[in-house]
Symmetry: C2
Subunit: 497 residues, 2 copies
């Protein structure tokens, strides 16, 4: 794609001024419209060193209301960022609905500079492309406008610019040895960029290639591309609003009898006596404390998700699990319905935010699986959205595992009678009354629907690398021990590697 570009393109001052006046007014107007329609926008700037990313961003924001955008300079990963999957820092920096985020170099750094520096294996490179495409598709499916700008100059022009920068003390520091190295090996670096462009030039997140030899020309082209992309996003947001996705009638053809009945097969008669429980608990908690320390030392992150019926015993199990763990090394993350800020982001955003850094553990009390349970059942999202979510969730967990994490998901299973018993106990006990609400009783009425959704979820998202563990929970002692034992087994297995 790059070799065909005509890098002699330029624009005279008068044309530039005339065009810019109109373009700036238009862009300002579109920003306001995006805000009203709650469209989030990401604009990524990539391209060769000294092609002018910084100054073009400075030009672009001239037209923007500063209360509505942020600029992220993407340099080498910080220590904290390095301790997460590489997309973590971009997930957490996705703009909220109605806002614009601009990236001076972006998530493509991974497959460009870092690849050039041979900082990754072939397998990691393949995974990085898969992750990037999945990242962009998920955001685009969620309504994000994604604009990707690639600034192009040739080897000579780049060298000329470096020389000019090096001449003055005030600018010389901007040219690094790595820059010079890439200029010398321009063809090699060009080939890496070319492959990147080809692999990631999609209809939902297309590249705009910009001839950047002449700064005025490049500015006008970038403005035009951004205006065109925002106009398209606004049109399609209006179309979506006029014809919203719906719960498909087809979904009703589902026949409960035909699903694997995972939950109903769980053997809820499994029990432990109090003595067995106490003995086991002590032993396992001791092991977990040691293993947790070892995970910290070896910098392995741990993600544990807890789901289950209301009153299924999640809280109790989490409490026993963490009792002897070093509190500096784990966080328990309770998940409620999304707050105002969370609601303005992709549904996975708040979970990405909470993912542990290397060596730490995050324990989620309720998780991202809400998408395919409560949101599905209550119609908080469309059929298309929850059906898409299985793959989105598998992709997220796969990113976590690929970055070294241990990921386990627990379903705490009890039967309907046991739930009723526990609900009533809670109501009768003044100290526990806060734990039981009308909503719990309403959810209980939808038991069958939940069972259907959970069975489907368990099938579609239990993977060898991030398995679901169904915990037979009628006996709390049994359940807690099974959770602890499963964690011990998984950690021991991982630490043997």
């Amino acid at each position: 794609m790059l070799e065909k570009m005509d890098l002699t393109k330029k624009m005279d001052k008068e044309t530039y001024k005339a065009k810019m006046e109109e373009l700036q007014a238009k862009l300002g107007e579109l920003q306001r419209e995006c805000k009203n329609l709650e469209i989030p926008v990401m604009i990524a700037f990539e391209g060769f060193d000294a092609a002018g990313k910084g100054s073009q961003i400075a030009e672009l924001i001239q037209a923007l209301d500063p209360r509505g955008f942020e600029v992220h300079a993407v340099k080498q990963e910080s220590e904290n960022e390095r301790m997460h999957p590489f997309l973590w820092r971009f997930w957490t920096k996705t703009p909220e609905n109605g806002r614009i985020a601009i990236y001076d170099s972006s998530w493509y750094r991974r497959v460009l500079v870092e690849r050039f520096e041979k900082m990754m294996t072939k397998e990691q490179l393949g995974n990085a492309y898969t992750s990037i495409c999945s990242f962009e598709r998920q955001l685009a499916d969620g309504g994000m406008a994604i604009i990707k700008i690639f600034l192009c100059v040739d080897q000579k022009e780049q060298k000329r610019r470096f020389k000019r920068l090096l001449k003055a003390k005030e600018t010389a520091w901007r040219v690094t040895e790595a820059d010079i190295k890439r200029n010398k090996n321009f063809d090699k670096y060009l080939a890496i960029n070319e492959e990147m462009l080809q692999k990631t030039d999609t209809d939902y997140a297309p590249w705009t290639l910009v001839e950047a030899t002449d700064r005025r020309f490049a500015t006008v082209k970038i403005y035009t591309a951004v205006i065109s992309a925002l106009t398209a996003s606004i049109e399609s947001a209006k179309r979506r609003a006029a014809h919203p996705e719906v719960q498909l009638e087809a979904a009703e053809h589902y026949d409960r009898e035909l699903q694997s009945s995972i939950l109903s097969k769980a053997d809820l008669t499994k029990t432990l006596t109090k003595e067995e429980y106490k003995k086991k608990l002590k032993e396992l908690q001791g092991k977990i404390a040691v293993l947790h320390g070892e995970m910290y030392r070896r910098r392995i992150p741990l993600v544990l998700g807890f789901e289950g019926w209301d009153a299924g015993g999640k809280g109790g199990a989490i409490k026993r699990l963490t009792e002897k763990m070093d509190p500096r090394g784990y966080v328990v993350h309770p998940t409620a319905s999304p707050n105002d800020i969370e609601r303005k982001h992709h549904y996975l955003w708040r979970f990405w935010e909470a993912m542990p850094k290397a060596g730490h553990a995050t324990i989620f009390d309720r998780t991202w699986y809400g998408r395919v349970m409560v949101e599905r059942i209550e119609g908080f999202c469309s059929t298309q959205e929850w059906q898409r979510a299985y793959k989105e969730i598998n992709d997220m967990e796969s990113d976590l595992v690929n970055s070294g994490a241990v990921v386990l998901k627990f379903w705490l299973q009890i039967d309907k009678d046991e739930q009723e018993k526990r609900f009533k106990e809670r109501q009768a006990n003044p100290e526990k009354q806060w734990k039981i609400t009308d909503e719990d009783w309403r959810n209980r009425e939808k038991w069958d629907q939940y069972e259907e959704a959970v069975d489907e979820m368990l099938i579609r998202t239990s993977t060898p690398k991030a398995p679901w563990i169904v915990v037979e929970g009628n006996c709390k002692y049994y359940a807690r021990i099974k959770v602890l034992q499963s964690v011990v087994d998984a950690l021991e297995k991982r630490l043997k590697k």
Copy 2:
């Protein structure tokens, strides 16, 4: 996904009979509706050996009008199939609009059996997944209903079935050594299947996992899945018909001045004298004859695409190119507007059909690039469709190159005056009058629109592995020699590998 399946599921005869009566009637009705709405349907059956793919297909077609479906048994590739990219045989077997194609084992064979037999490298495996996902996405975007059924039995049940088959002479032949081997290494083969399911379980082509221990249960589940998928496709076809995709207003923001002006930069003063031409022609034709033979011997396929302005000299260049080539080793494939049958398929289908087998050459006089030129300009497809096409086309060419082919694309460039001169010559010459039609004059009026579309196409689809070569064509001698020289260079380079 597989480990969570409950393989004890079964269904008694009475329930089965009652359900099937209703399901068969419903499926028949949906088939008729798909026919009316011109929805094409692909149903792929995968799963463990002896899980009952064959008999389940036999059950499924009971409900179908035999005039509306075909069944493809997918075995090891035939010699002819092996000489094409692995998806070629599936592209060419995609059903036409309104018809159902059923595959007894499918395009997944590549990443299952063939992978298990270690018939491919890691890189080929990665490419195969990319190709499969692109294949399904392209077809789904084009309106195909894709239903993927995975039949599951466990190792014990499989062994039991093999034993039963082996007992009787009439059925013993159906159990191969490879089957036995996969049964013995069940866990290893299971892991391969698990990875495949996870990588390809998408919203546009989801898997239905079927517990296949009990045949009745499996049949009912398959019927239900097919009915549910067809209902969803029908709903969404109706939605699309009610709210068709359109040419976006946003596309109008495009500013011609801001594009790389590749065509207008072509130096059309380049010429050759008749003497130079004759000498060069003889030399290059000789080389091509030899290289073509060598390509045949080494089984390397060659794909050449010719595009250019009307009267740009495509025909003349192709004639000189092929003059000394062995006619048994090449085909010239003229591309007109699609005929009735072609119109009932994906727009790339007819080009896949025509792709050369290993060692052969296909020369396309006009190509799949019509999608982003004439179809874009005349509004024969929506903005979304032609914008999507760049990636679809790059993916197709990438499949060809990955399977070993040499792919070159020529744009024959002339200026507007030269075209007028040639049009008038044609009109004046009784022998050439057939070459010029009113449509040529009408297209000429859209010169600027075409130039814009072509410049964008050249940027977006010229890749190092499948480059565009712009041929300066005002002087026919020069143009023909440049075409021949480019082919010679590319073949020599490839044969050196």
